[in-house]
């Protein structure tokens, strides 16, 4: 069974030789350096034999000047193609995305025109998907599954531009500014979803963090008003091009209250199913015939603070409780932070593959 066959079968809830696995969304800079030093290998995905590879659109040809939106940024800051300012912190791992600050370009926007005229990137431009098609083919030639990354789909992208508190206040006020911002982002995401589906990618990875560890960030009613129809449109766009493309949805935290809605709009796979706040076995019992689970190994608990035995036990428990009949993809629940001992990563992979490294 190739990795690709394993991923496709398991996520369609069929039995496989073992559950597929990968290393989640990436590895913190300090951790990556340490893994490279330990293994002598440049790419931990190759070294550990992960079943997937992530793919993003090719580089943009636009060179937009966002300085009128961002003002003066501190030394060492960068600006991405959406106009979001990335500001370094005092952290020792400052170039790692979770440890930087944001400067939101639309935080001070006061009129509809400010939002309507904001220069959004060309992430939906056809030329940026030529490289995607080539990368998907290369990944498939290696027998691996290709994941097309569409994370921060709508809500997160919108609050990166507007600021989270401002955007949530806009939602509460029923502001037309929020409507226009979300609609403009959704239009871009629909274009991206179509290109990704046409590229032959196996899984399209949508995602918007709408959970806290205690429950939803906003009420389910607010999510259904502002976000569900737009997320549904981006999923429908992909399915329109390729009906059997797998739809993966990521939200940190406890989003159990949204699961029936997510299934409704065509989500096949829920990620990351944080064990600190969700019971993957219970979710499997309730939704396992319609939903697959990706993640489930805690980067907030077992991986950084448990022993290798704890990690192996967590993996075995998941396989026994969630993996029955397929539907389980094992992965750390998020980026592997610097505190995760190398031995725990090895224990994770060994427990999944049944092989000694």
């Amino acid at each position: 069974m190739t990795s690709r066959e394993r991923v496709l079968a398991a996520m369609r809830r069929q039995e496989t030789d073992r559950p597929p696995f990968d290393l989640s969304f990436g590895i913190a800079t300090a951790q990556l350096a340490s893994i490279r030093a330990r293994t002598g290998a440049d790419d931990p995905w190759d070294y550990f034999g992960a079943d997937t590879r992530m793919i993003w659109p090719g580089p943009t040809r636009l060179d937009t000047d966002f300085s009128r939106y961002l003002g003066r940024l501190p030394r060492g800051s960068t600006v991405d193609e959406w106009g979001l300012g990335h500001v370094p912190t005092a952290s020792t791992d400052a170039d790692h995305a979770h440890l930087e600050g944001f400067r939101h370009p639309l935080e001070e926007a006061e009129s509809l025109a400010d939002i309507a005229e904001y220069p959004l990137p060309d992430v939906d431009a056809a030329y940026r998907y030529e490289s995607v098609r080539a990368e998907v083919e290369a990944v498939h030639r290696r027998g691996l599954a290709a994941m097309a990354m569409l994370e921060c789909t709508i809500f997160e992208r919108a609050w990166y531009l507007r600021g989270m508190e401002r955007l949530l206040l806009d939602f509460s006020d029923g502001s037309a500014m929020a409507t226009v911002l979300l609609d403009r982002i959704t239009a871009l995401r629909i274009g991206q979803a179509r290109h990704y589906a046409a590229s032959g990618a196996d899984v399209i990875c949508y995602g918007d963090d709408v959970g806290t560890q205690r429950g939803l960030l906003m009420s389910a009613a607010m999510w259904r008003t502002w976000l569900k129809p737009r997320l549904a449109a981006t999923i429908a766009a992909a399915r329109d091009v390729r009906p059997d493309v797998l739809v993966f949805y990521h939200s940190d935290g406890n989003v159990e209250a949204l699961i029936p809605d997510l299934i409704d709009i065509g989500v096949d796979i829920l990620n990351p199913v944080q064990p600190e706040c969700l019971d993957a076995a219970a979710l499997k019992r309730q939704y396992g015939s319609r939903l697959s689970f990706w993640g489930t190994i805690g980067t907030q608990s077992t991986l950084p603070f448990g022993s290798p035995d704890d990690v192996q036990r967590e993996v075995r428990t998941r396989i026994e409780t969630v993996g029955v009949g397929g539907g389980l993809f094992l992965a750390p629940t998020h980026v592997i932070e610097p505190e995760v001992p190398f031995e725990n990563l090895v224990a994770f992979v060994e427990a999944v593959t049944g092989e000694r490294g």
Binding site: S91, H98, S172, T212, Q213, S219, P304, E337
Partner: protein
């Protein structure tokens, strides 16, 4: 229940804050003051109970982050009128001063901001130290800002470990004994709080307010 809470003007103010109606909160405040209600009684009888109720609803899952944000905005609309009046006569009755920030390297401040809103609503004087706050700044919050309580927040396991370094810096500076330290954030647990020697842990914003009140109670 305070008799003030029963008067129609006080309940109008309390409801406006709970409904997140900033304009309504400002006009209810003006009307109450116009009828001779003492500003401190407005704070004690309407504003604090309103934000307490908002916190209770948040804890019960009836309110989410947006509802807390609009309530805090309405609270501020009332405070903008009341606070200058209290300042004219030497300040309101603060329940204590809390200096709070996310620890060094951590920029995630939504949780911290909710705690700030509820503490302010609860009558505390809050010094918001912001994000990515180095240990030395928490030390000076005790020495210069005269905080009774210092609050440390972190979202990541990586930055959570900075809490330990911050407590150590406070000990080295000799200020640890004169302040209560409370901690919170997604990866933080009571066990971790105990391990690093914090005085308290809360798993949500409303619980943080209750914790701060316990720590400021006589004999705590």
């Amino acid at each position: 229940m305070d008799t003030d809470a029963l008067s129609p003007l006080m309940s109008a103010l309390r409801d406006a804050v709970l409904d997140g109606d900033a304009r309504g909160a400002a006009s209810a405040t003006e009307r109450a003051l116009g009828q001779g209600v003492d500003p401190q009684r407005l704070v004690d009888g309407a504003l604090i109970p309103a934000m307490d109720e908002a916190g209770r609803r948040f804890e019960n899952g009836e309110f989410f982050v947006p509802e807390l944000l609009v309530s805090a905005r309405a609270l501020k609309a009332s405070q903008a009128i009341v606070t200058p009046l209290l300042a004219q006569r030497g300040g309101g009755v603060a329940r204590g001063r809390v200096a709070i920030g996310t620890v060094k390297g951590d920029m995630h401040d939504i949780g911290k901001n909710l705690v700030v809103a509820l503490l302010q609503g609860g009558g505390f004087d809050v010094v918001d130290l912001g994000t990515d706050v180095p240990p030395t700044r928490f030390v000076s919050a005790v020495t210069n800002d005269r905080a009774d309580i210092v609050g440390l927040s972190a979202l990541l396991t990586t930055t959570m470990l900075q809490m330990k370094a911050t407590l150590k810096a406070m000990e080295t500076a000799g200020v640890r004994g004169s302040v209560k330290v409370i901690v919170g954030g997604a990866p933080v647990t009571q066990r971790f709080a105990d391990e690093i020697g914090a005085d308290g842990y809360a798993d949500n914003a409303a619980a943080a307010l209750a914790l701060a009140r316990r720590l400021m109670a006589p004999g705590a």
